[in-house]
């Protein structure tokens, strides 16, 4: 048991190390920041001074070593553009992105679970057709396109919601629904198949044979069994939402990590792109690890695998 945990944690640490290396070199291939950062008129001496100040004139291995020692101390470097620690910048933007991703997840669950349950309990009926249709729509409609349509209809057209930004509660509705739409589709399909699976199993049949009414069967017997697969994908869903928020944040001018990443890439702000990518990867790796560890606790067979 302990060795399973130790191994999984070790693997995750190795992955994090790998991500650090991968991201460092990938990001350095995206362009040379000196030309982009400085005003067009900047003379060559100033360009050289800037490169020296930012450590960009050193050989790549030296830069890499400096970067890794910094990381070991919890220092992810300074943003070239903003001249501030990148961690500080990421931390400032984090709440907005988390808030958006959580709201999207909440929306997805609120729609998906009831609809998936209803569809699964009455396969073939119009409810089921609706569930399958909405589930499919969730997987085929591009979220940024949906976001644009929302702005046209609900913000500019009807004036129900603000067209951009993070303001009061109403400002999160459109971006959260657009972002959560795809996850909603998946969750509907997942819930529905889980319900079908459970219904095929014996104890539900027994309950039905005993004449327990349909709704009570669904609540008492099906729900707990459906909850497990849903809960188990929530962590992963959440990390997907964090990635997908890039587009939605751009469409809605939402001040989170997505808009930050977009400008950092355009600016070739290496340290900032690195910090964002690494942070999101850390997060994804940790979620995977926690999910695995939780499974390990629940299902001893997995530990042997």
């Amino acid at each position: 048991m302990l060795s399973f945990f130790a191994r999984r944690v070790g693997e995750s640490l190795a992955l994090i190390l790998g991500v650090l290396v991968l991201v460092f070199f990938l990001v350095r291939l995206t362009g040379d920041p000196v030309g982009l950062m400085l005003p067009k008129e900047a003379p060559p001496e100033q360009r050289a001074a800037f490169a020296a100040e930012m450590g960009l004139d050193r050989p790549l291995p030296v830069q890499f070593a400096a970067y890794m020692t910094g990381v070991a101390r919890g220092d992810f470097g300074e943003s070239l553009r903003q001249r501030r620690p990148t961690l500080e910048i990421v931390a400032e933007r984090l709440p907005a992105t988390f808030e958006l991703a959580l709201a999207a997840l909440a929306f997805a669950l609120l729609v998906a679970v009831p609809l998936g349950l209803a569809g699964g309990m009455r396969p073939g009926t119009w409810v089921d057709v609706l569930a399958r249709g909405v589930g499919l729509a969730g997987q085929t409609v591009p979220n940024f396109w949906l976001g644009m349509l929302f702005i046209v209809w609900f913000a500019v057209g009807l004036g129900w919601f603000p067209a951009f930004g993070r303001d009061d509660l109403s400002s999160i509705v459109l971006p959260a629904v657009a972002l959560g739409f795809a996850g909603m589709g998946q969750l509907i399909r997942l819930t529905r198949s889980a319900v079908l699976e459970v219904r095929r199993s014996d104890f539900v049949r027994t309950a039905q044979a005993k004449g327990i009414a349909g709704t009570r069967v669904s609540l008492k017997h099906v729900l707990p069994n459906v909850a497990i697969p849903i809960v188990s994908v929530l962590g992963i869903q959440f990390t997907y939402l964090l990635g997908g928020s890039v587009y939605i944040e751009v469409v809605f001018a939402w001040p989170g990590l997505g808009t930050l990443l977009e400008t950092a890439i355009r600016d070739t702000d290496f340290p900032l792109v690195q910090a964002i990518t690494i942070f999101l990867s850390f997060f994804a790796i940790s979620i995977h690890l926690l999910t695995d560890l939780a499974y390990g606790l629940i299902d001893p067979r997995l530990r042997a695998a």
């Binding site: 900047a42 060559p44 001074a49 800037f50 903003q82 009831p114 109403s170």
Partner: protein, 507 residues
């Protein structure tokens, strides 16, 4: 069936969350920003958007008024020595920074010292001065290495006065986070990527200013979102819109469209070095042919709804030395272009590659395609090479492009000198064309302190760059903005600068 009611319930919930669109208090001004300012510390404001926001907090010694005249600001008077290298400023007394610190000669010295640190984006604006000394508490002497035609303008545009004690106490990084100046507004808070909030400085030295109590900048990078925001009334100023976007505002009651000529020239650059060596464009007649053979008027009509000026050269409308009578754009004359090509030995035209910074400017992708199709008419087969902006501007001398490339250059001085110097002085980062006559004339302009004499020299430069053009001149864009119809005193300038201290709402 119970669960099915959740959907309508959700919709009802959404309806409850509908914003009660709060009537905006008349004394709060909301201005959109097209990018999140990198810093509010002036030497590190990497773009116009950032410096515009920063100027609400700061003042300089001198100020350029709406008519382009240099007028007193924190300096009440100044004298310039005979040889044009020494400036003595008398400072305004009784001015305090937002934190209570007194503004005096030491503040000017400190401003120059912190600004000229080489790692600053705009260090060069400060290193234009050799020394800055306090003669007494309210007098400073500034010297320049050589006569500098645009020194006072440089000061007005860049030298935002900062409080030395406060900076010493908190450091530059903290200062950039919580900036303190003498300006019309005081910094209140900033949410990165989202907004910057400021409030009126009650002790502002200019009487009756600012005219609003509160100023909020909202970051909205996307033009169509800015357009939506002005339509919904969420902002009072939506800047950087395209001509076709503003047509959508026709008939909108509470919105007024503001438009002005931008001091920016778009051009196709040639290289007589690197990728350009040994190509047809080295021949003067070919470059003339390309200028005559490009239908810049048609392109303007098609892509900018006719709302841009065909550029006569690098000296354009609004610049010192511009003369509408003598400076006209190349006429569209495809026959003459073909004749010139034939004369140069290319009767059937030639093939050439032209770099284009994809999405780097408004409509630039379409402009590049239109150039290729227009030059195709005179037999020149232009292959458009779209590059990401990262690649495009990150190498010196546009190393990633072929013999031709598309770009633009702005100026904030009311004079063409920054773009002339940047693009045509050998050794500069974005220089791709070496012509000794032009380079010498640039130096002469830079040293000529007399305005009228400079205007003459710009005329000479125009002629020179017309007879032997180092560029295909394209157009000078018109900037479109949309503002709340009740707004008064909003006067953006040709370099996309605007100052909010005298902006208010009509009663």
């Amino acid at each position: 069936m119970l669960r099915l009611r959740i959907l309508p319930a959700l919709l009802a919930l959404a309806a409850v969350l509908v914003p009660t669109s709060v009537a905006q208090a008349q004394d709060e001004l909301v201005v959109s920003l097209s990018s999140d300012p990198t810093s509010l510390f002036m030497p590190r404001t990497s773009d116009r958007t950032a410096s515009n926001a920063a100027w609400s907090l700061f003042d300089s010694l001198v100020w350029i008024d709406d008519d382009g005249n240099l007028v007193p600001a924190l300096a009440t008077d100044w004298t310039i020595s005979e040889d044009g290298t020494e400036y003595v400023f008398e400072l305004r007394e009784g001015v305090t920074f937002h934190n209570g610190e007194t503004f005096d000669a030491e503040s000017v010295v400190a401003t120059w010292e912190t600004g000229s640190d080489e790692s600053n984006d705009y260090a060069s604006a400060y290193s234009a001065a050799d020394s800055v000394e306090a003669i007494d508490a309210y007098t400073v002497r500034i010297t320049t290495p050589e006569p500098n035609a645009i020194f006072l303008t440089t000061i007005a545009n860049n030298w935002a006065m900062v409080p030395p004690d406060y900076i010493r106490e908190v450091g530059l990084d903290a200062f950039a986070q919580d900036p303190v100046g003498t300006g019309p507004f005081r910094f209140v808070s900033r949410t990165p990527g989202d907004r910057i909030v400021m409030e009126a400085n009650p002790d502002y030295w200019a009487d009756g200013l600012p005219r609003v109590d509160r100023l909020v900048y909202r970051v909205i990078p996307d033009g169509s979102t800015r357009l939506a925001a002005i339509r919904t009334g969420d902002v009072d100023v939506a800047n950087r819109l395209t001509p076709d976007q503003v047509t959508a505002l026709e008939g909108a009651e509470d919105v007024e469209v503001v438009q002005y000529l931008n001091d920016r020239v778009y051009y196709v650059g040639f290289k007589n070095m690197g990728a350009g060596e040994g190509t047809p464009i080295e021949d003067r007649r070919v470059r003339l042919a390309l200028n005559y053979g490009l239908d810049r008027f048609g392109i303007n009509q098609a892509i900018f709804s006719g709302q841009a000026n065909a550029a006569p050269g690098f000296v354009v409308e609004g610049n010192l030395g511009y003369d509408a009578d003598t400076m006209q754009p190349f006429p569209y004359d495809p026959d003459r272009a073909r004749a010139l090509l034939a004369e140069a030995g290319y009767p059937d035209g030639f093939e050439i590659s032209m770099g284009c910074p994809a999405d780097g400017y408004v409509n630039i992708n379409e402009v590049c395609q239109a150039i290729a199709s227009s030059l195709g008419q005179i037999g020149v087969d232009v292959e458009v090479d779209f590059q990401t902006t990262n690649a495009y501007w990150s190498e010196p001398n546009y190393a990633v492009t072929g013999p031709m490339y598309v770009d633009s250059w702005s100026s904030e001085f009311g004079e063409a000198i920054p773009r002339l110097d940047g693009a045509l002085t050998p050794g500069n980062y974005y220089n791709t064309w070496e012509d000794e006559r032009i380079a010498n004339l640039i130096q002469e302009i830079q040293r000529e302190v007399d305005r009228d004499a400079r205007a003459e020299l710009y005329g000479e430069m125009h002629e020179l760059m017309r007879e032997d053009p180092p560029f295909i001149y394209l157009y000078q864009p018109v900037i479109f903005e949309a503002v709340d119809a009740d707004l008064e005193g909003y006067q953006p300038r040709a370099a996309e600068e605007y100052f909010l201290r005298s902006v208010g709402f009509a009663d």
